[in-house]
Amino acid sequence: MKAHYFLVRDLLDNQLVDRDKRNLGKIDGIALHVAQGKQTRVTHLESGALILARRLGPRWERIAAFMTRHFGVRKNPVFRVPWSKVTKTGIDIHIDIDGVKSDAFAWEHWLDDHLIGRLPLAHEHIKED
């Protein structure tokens, strides 16, 4: 991992990748811990529609909050990854997490269980696993 970062250029909006190289979403937000007398530090990388909506403005945030409250499938609408879980940085940010078991995959599982997986040939073998 490199020693110096431009947080916006090198982290924000970059791809999060789990230990099995699956995509877990983009880094939609970065949480900073600010305390008097202590150096500000990055604590978490965040991903989720709510974070994205907030970046577009308060009106979009309200709409996203309504949608996630009533139609969301994640346990927590914001997927937070502690900085300590980052194993490799570059164009993609690799984290030491099993994405399939995480909240980042909640929508994939829900759509597979309720819609996509129920259509014929969804699990067919011509394609890769």
């Binding site: 995509n23 983009k26 939609d28 994939e108 067919e124 011509i126 394609k127 890769e128």
Partner: protein, 405 residues
């Protein structure tokens, strides 16, 4: 041998994949209304397209990231959301128009109305994407799309005035009906420099696991494939110039465009036109649906891949399903596919500057392309394309009002 096949297929993809409902409609209207005078618009659009497609492939091969990925990462979500949202809206219209093209082809063959075919055609397109691999989709549409060579054969058989055609490659001002002339020129540029091509081409390169050793093949594919494709488009224009213009037939409906092959190819004219239209539009509908899914998945960071089983990328699969549903539904409203096509091409022209601008930044960013950054020629062409796209974007809506259908 593998490299040769890769290049050959890329070239065939360019030929077979270039023509679709927008390029056929705009080329036919151009030829019918202004004979050879708008050949320069196809040539200009193709030159810009060649450079942008090559850059797309280079970006994918070196960075393993497609354009939509890189735009989000480099320029941020608040910027990326604007062109991506605009593209989704335009692509719904384009998919509707392409499905309409297939339905029209079936109408020409059977006499059965477009709306009757809308649902079965949409289902068939969905099934092909759903069950097929990217290779199958590319191979099938490319090879079947070679039927578009019928336009070249017909154009040659009708002995066009070659000198007049060559003069048409030089931009000129029309003697009359300027608004309509420039409206078609803008439509041709929008049909040629289609944003969905960058998403489809780049994502396909990543799925095919291109690397640094693919750069040569990428360049050849971009140049030869797009050039041969442009020849098909020009052949449509020439056929319309020779068949429709002398009879003062303007292309207000696709049925009029369908006449262009009859004088040269006799009773084979209409079936070949229908076959070409049907196959090219079927392929384009798949490409645009997949391109939208690629672009959305890459912007939001989802897993994606046409070669993966749908249940493994549920959100990616859901996206192209929704796009097909919306496009098909649009057609069921009874909207005229030709009007839908021209509107989609005009709106594409409006958003082009936002599509082209990132190429200036990304292909000069060594984080992404390492030492394979743009040279001075590449940068000049992209900046000229950006300026051109900006001018086109500004004039498109007034032209649509003044010179459109």
């Amino acid at each position: 041998m593998k490299k040769f096949l890769q290049v050959a297929l890329g070239v065939v993809t360019g030929i077979g994949g270039f023509l679709e409902v927008g390029s056929i409609a705009t080329a036919a209207e151009a030829g019918a209304s202004f004979k050879y005078a708008l050949l320069w618009a196809i040539a200009l659009g193709t030159i810009c397209l060649i450079f942008l497609v090559e850059m797309t492939g280079r970006l994918a091969a070196i960075s393993k990231h497609a354009v939509a990925d890189a735009v989000r990462e480099r320029l941020g979500f608040p910027f990326a959301v604007i062109p991506r949202t605009a593209e989704i809206i335009v692509n719904i219209m384009v998919i509707g128009a392409e499905i309409g093209g297939v339905c029209l082809a079936l109408k020409f063959m059977t006499g059965i109305e477009v709306r009757v075919w809308a649902i079965p055609v949409t289902l068939l397109i969905w099934l092909t994407i759903w069950a097929g691999t990217l290779d199958f989709i590319e191979d099938a549409t490319s090879i079947l799309g070679l039927a578009s060579i019928a336009f070249v054969v017909a154009a040659v058989k009708m002995h066009p005035d070659v000198h007049a055609a060559l003069r048409g490659l030089v931009p000129s001002s029309p003697h009359q009906d300027a608004a309509h002339y420039w409206y078609i020129a803008v439509g041709i540029l929008g049909a040629t420099i289609s944003p969905y091509m960058f998403h489809f081409y780049g994502s396909g390169a990543i799925e095919d696991k291109w690397g640094e050793d693919s750069l040569g093949a990428n360049r050849i594919t971009a140049v030869l494939g797009m050039s041969f494709g442009a020849v098909m488009s020009m052949a449509v224009l020439v056929c319309a110039a020779l068949v429709l213009a002398p009879r003062s037939i303007e292309v207000a409906r696709y049925e009029q465009a369908a006449l262009v092959l009859i004088p040269a190819l006799g009773r084979w004219g209409l079936p070949l036109f229908a076959a070409t239209l049907g196959v090219c539009c079927f392929g384009a509908a798949m490409e645009v649906s997949l391109a939208t899914a690629y672009m959305t998945a890459q912007t939001l960071g989802w897993n994606w891949g046409e070669n993966k089983k749908p249940d493994k990328e549920a959100r990616f699969a859901m996206t192209y399903v929704i796009m097909l549903l919306l496009g098909g539904t649009l057609l069921l409203t009874g909207i005229d596919p030709l009007k839908l096509t021209m509107l989609a091409m005009a709106l594409t022209a409006v958003i082009l500057p936002l599509i082209v601008l990132p190429f200036v930044l990304l292909l000069n960013d060594q984080t992404y392309v390492h030492e394979h950054t743009n040279g001075p020629i590449g940068n000049t062409v992209v900046i000229v394309t950006l300026v051109l796209a900006s001018i086109v974007a500004i004039v498109t809506i007034p032209l649509e009002i003044m010179g459109g259908g």
